[in-house]
């Protein structure tokens, strides 16, 4: 008996020691500091507009840190500004790992934070949970997020992705917008004697094809540098005037314009991979991502999001950005998709007024200025994005053509991943079947017509549920 007790004591002691050890390990997180003070940013805005007449309270807020410690630090930075403006509202921030999956279950459980972050890809299905507060009444009475500000200054497409249902109810307010651009390796362009892509307009696909071909370096049948690391079809389909699904997103499109655009886009991609060979086939790139190839200087250009910048700033070669090339025509500005995250309010929150103040502050020009000053994201307001200080700092760190981000964000809609709640139609339909378009063995390769026919069969047989 005594031995058992001793054993239990030893076990308990070991557990306690290891717990302390592990928790001590967790506290070694490096603190990120910024080269400016929150007060400097706040001094540029009118303090009198931040009024809260409710009772002092605590608002809970959930957030992801998918972009690493920098994202957490930036969120805390904005909250520091918020606490200075609203000292009677305390915000308790919960950073949640594996956010999308975890928070979906939290929504199902009904025990939500007062304010919670929503990525545009999850917005529709999360909205169906019926836990998001209609923000329209709050927005209509806001003296900070005025209709004038939204109509005249907010980048197109930032807000509209957060309307839901037949009533077109606003359920989230955007925190940021992440446009897609063409990153290019300036050193490769110089070495190959190829003219840099323009920074003041969108190149046509014909122009870009010539450029990408010139950048592709092949010796003894082996390509050592590809013109373009990878490109998905969204911008090509949209700029050609088509779409992937029918209008109510329940089936493969039936409109001739949509089908022609799909044919045009996939014919270009197939030719680029199999004939012109300036884009590597998925098999050639193996397990490498397009960004891996670009960073390893095995590709001269890559289409990527704003979130790649912090990683690219650590590279040894010179790089910059240009617009993603598109088919010439009236839809040229829809040259790719942009990502976004927004904030929603729990409709069961006991502190709705205070919760709105948090959402409003993140979406305000001041909150956006703090986010922009941290260099983390592209602000949703043109005036903040074009702020001299922001431009100067961002250009110094790279890319020099920083304006391309802002201008790209103006025309790029939400991605195909936001179309319907399930991604199966994309993953197993369009994307998985596309491998047959690029088969190395020409006899096994599908024609674009056959590919689209197969996609149609899949999509119209239960894949769009």
């Amino acid at each position: 008996m005594k031995r058992m007790k001793k054993l239990a004591l030893v076990f308990a002691a070991l557990t306690a020691i290891s717990s302390v050890g592990f928790s001590a390990c967790g506290k070694k997180e490096k603190k990120i500091s910024f080269e400016f003070s929150v007060d400097d940013v706040l001094a540029e805005y009118d303090a009198s507009q931040y009024v809260y007449t409710g009772e002092p309270c605590t608002v809970t807020m959930s957030h992801w840190d998918s972009a690493g410690p920098m994202e957490k630090a930036t969120t805390e930075l904005v909250l520091e500004g918020f606490h200075k403006r609203y000292p009677t509202i305390k915000v308790e921030l919960d950073i949640i790992s594996n956010y999308s999956e975890t928070y979906a279950k939290t929504i199902a459980s009904g025990k939500l934070h007062d304010v919670f972050m929503v990525a545009d890809g999850e917005f529709r299905i999360w909205a169906e949970g019926g836990k998001m507060q209609n923000l329209t009444p709050f927005l209509s009475t806001s003296t900070i997020l005025t209709s004038e500000l939204i109509e005249n200054d907010m980048l197109d497409g930032a807000l509209e992705r957060y309307y839901f249902g037949e009533q077109n109810t606003l359920l989230c307010f955007p925190k940021d917008i992440g446009p897609m651009v063409l990153y290019y390796n300036k050193d490769i362009f110089t070495r190959m004697g190829v003219e840099l892509p323009p920074s003041d307009r969108i190149m046509t696909i014909e122009e870009a094809t010539k450029m990408w071909k010139s950048l592709t370096k092949t010796e003894n049948g082996k390509t050592s540098i590809y013109g373009l690391a990878s490109m998905t079809s969204e911008g090509l389909v949209w700029s050609a005037g088509g779409d992937y699904l029918n209008d109510d997103r329940t089936a493969f499109p039936t409109e001739e314009a949509d089908i022609n655009a799909l044919k045009k886009a996939y014919t270009f991609l197939q030719k680029a991979v199999c004939e012109d060979k300036f884009i590597p086939d998925g098999a050639v790139s193996g397990g490498l991502s397009g960004m891996d190839m670009f960073c390893a200087e095995k590709a001269a250009t890559i289409v990527g999001g704003r979130w790649e910048v912090s990683n690219l700033r650590t590279l040894d070669f010179n790089w910059d950005i240009a617009y993603v090339p598109a088919f010439e025509g009236e839809n040229m500005k829809k040259n790719y998709w942009s990502g976004s995250v927004g904030y929603a309010m729990f409709n069961g929150s006991k502190n709705k007024e205070a919760a709105w103040k948090v959402i409003e502050y993140f979406g305000s020009p001041e909150g956006q200025a703090l986010l922009a000053a941290s260099g983390f994201s592209v602000p949703i307001y043109e005036s903040v994005a074009y702020d001299e200080n922001v431009l100067e700092r961002e250009k110094a760190l790279g890319p020099q053509n920083y304006e391309v981000f802002i201008e790209s964000a103006k025309g790029q809609p939400a991605g195909t991943h936001t179309y319907i709640p399930s991604q199966r139609w994309l993953k197993e339909g369009y994307n998985a079947l596309a491998a047959n378009l690029y088969a190395l063995d020409a006899s096994e390769r599908w024609s674009v017509d056959k590919y689209l026919e197969e996609v149609k069969n899949k999509l119209n047989n239960g894949f769009l549920r």
Binding site: M1, M4, A8, S100, E101, A104, K105, I107, A108, I125, W126, E128, G129, G130, S224, G282, A283, V284, S285, G286, G287, L288, S289, D292, M293, A296, K298, I420, P421, S422, Q423, R424, K427, E428, N431, A432, A435, L440, R465
Partner: protein, 293 residues
């Protein structure tokens, strides 16, 4: 009276010690299992109330070509288990010869066991990479054309190679002491009777280590059939009919495919039943080749 009190105390202590395990089993195994069975008969997406659909989800599982394709992929990959056991057994027999430097070899084979699985996968991904990968460079230097290790024709083979590399150490660790425990008198008697190396191996060595071989086979197969992370890391998370495995496919339904927990549960139950049948068959078949005495 004193004895009764003592017995009672012992019972209490006994229950206290097993309680954490029992509670854990109920909370984290039994309850989710029963829930999964219930959900598998419903259309449930987390955000709407579950709707009873009878056996519709199960009918769809049997018609789901991608699921069965993923099953085929994992079956091919599971060949790594007998291959690894066979290679580690041969290596253990060799290492059991008391030759010079065997401890160092044992240590080298054991190193993969103590490395982080995800970190190891990233290293392999780099080794398999075209252009700058270690293997590609090696092939190029030798003047050979490097295969595309991660294309649809080579992907499973490349994964089996990783499993072989990572699985040797642990198995050698278990085989070595078992081999050492076989009485040397058995070998001496066999040699005196004129038995050759293969006869000794199949009549003495293999029967003596058959329980541990069976254990390694069952645990190895059940582990491999639940594989997900390694495939996801090596393929860069890109879905294709070559890279998909059942657990990954089920996982897609709990998130990206619209949180369809009803269908995901049905997939999980069917797959779980397949694994259970596999284990039962193996336990029944062990009487033909596993010697416990």
């Amino acid at each position: 009276m004193k004895l009764k009190t003592r017995n009672l105390k012992e019972y209490c202590w006994g229950y206290a010690f097993v309680a954490p395990l029992i509670i854990g089993l109920i909370l984290f195994l039994l309850y989710p299992l029963v829930s999964a069975v219930v959900y598998s008969f419903s259309d449930y997406d987390l955000f709407h109330k579950p709707e009873f659909v009878g056996f519709a989800n199960y009918a769809n599982v049997f018609k789901d070509a991608v699921f069965w394709k993923s099953f085929k992929n994992i079956l091919l990959y599971s060949l790594s288990v007998p291959v690894t056991i066979f290679v580690s057994l041969i290596l253990s027999v060799v290492m059991n010869q008391d030759l010079k430097g065997m401890k160092t070899y044992r240590l080298i084979y054991f190193i993969p066991m103590v490395c982080s699985s995800v970190a190891v996968m990233f290293i392999w991904k780099w080794m398999y990479a075209p252009y700058y990968g270690l293997l590609d460079s090696f092939f190029t230097k030798m003047g050979w054309k490097a295969p595309l290790f991660l294309d649809k024709d080579h992907f499973i083979g490349s994964m089996v190679t990783i499993a072989l590399w990572g699985g040797l150490g642990g198995r050698i660790l278990l085989f070595t002491p078992t081999l050492r425990n076989i009485s040397s008198s058995l070998y001496e008697a066999a040699r005196l009777d004129g038995a050759g190396w293969w006869q000794i191996f199949f009549r003495i060595t293999f029967p003596s280590i058959s329980p541990i071989t069976f254990y390694l086979f069952i645990t190895g197969m059940t582990g491999v059939l639940q594989e997900f992370t390694n495939f996801n890391v090596i393929s860069g998370g890109v879905f294709s009919e070559t890279t998909i495995v059942p657990v990954w496919y089920i996982y897609l339904y709990t998130g990206e495919y619209g949180y369809q927990f009803g269908y995901a549960s049905a997939l999980g139950i069917v797959y779980g039943l397949v694994l259970t049948v596999f284990v039962i068959i193996n336990f029944m078949a062990q009487k033909w080749w596993v010697k416990y005495d």
